[in-house]
Amino acid sequence: MYDNRMRLQFMSLSQNESFARAAAGAFLTQLNPTLDQLTDVRTAISEAVTNAVIHGYQNGPGLITLCATIEGGRCTFAVRDSGVGIEDVSRARQPFFTTRPELERSGMGFTVMETFMDEVVVRSSAGGGTTVIMKKIIKGEAKK
């Protein structure tokens, strides 16, 4: 059973990247995170939402859903799009991998999410959209 829950839906527009990370950060503050934990979450959410805008919807129209659930001292975020999906998730998660080098993408998006969050699960299939689920432990046994 969760203690608190929220769900936001917004258009796939780059200006909503800052909106999404600000909303996620604001929701997290009820767990009294440190400044570093707050930055970790804001950065990871920014990565997931940016991926949805650029890769999921390829800068075209679409809706992105951000959900967050608090259970005890942990917060779980889900960023979902109904875009093109990822054909090979394990390849996409490798550092420096990008399908869009012409856009000067660093290929570090998933690496940042994995480094800054305690758990990252990616559910995706070609044509079936992508859901990135990320857990951050604020109190209790956090990642060393």
């Binding site: 780059s14 200006q15 990247e17 800052s18 950065t43 920014s46 940016t50 000067e104 660093s106 940042v112």
Partner: protein
Amino acid sequence: MRIQASRKGRRVLARLSGELDHHGAAEIRAKLNALIADHTVSELVLDMGNVTFMDSAGLGVILGRYRDLSRRGGRLILTCVPGDIDRLFEMYGMYSLAGCGRGMLDATDTI
């Protein structure tokens, strides 16, 4: 995101302020490119002290300018880097790239 810049000889100093993400990336890329368009510029110093947020898209923009400069034998210096942004540069291995380094502003650096 705002940029204030000054030039001294072959060196351009640019002070970035605000959030550096995918949304602002194209504009910052264009502004930084304009600052180093003159090929006699061999060093770009980025003062990151007032950058309040950066993600991997922001990293991509800085990496792109590093590549442009290093192709012509120039250098990129990153200075006053806040801790959370430094972590991203470290993660990428930015400081171990040839022609890229951490630097300090000297007393004559003014914008």
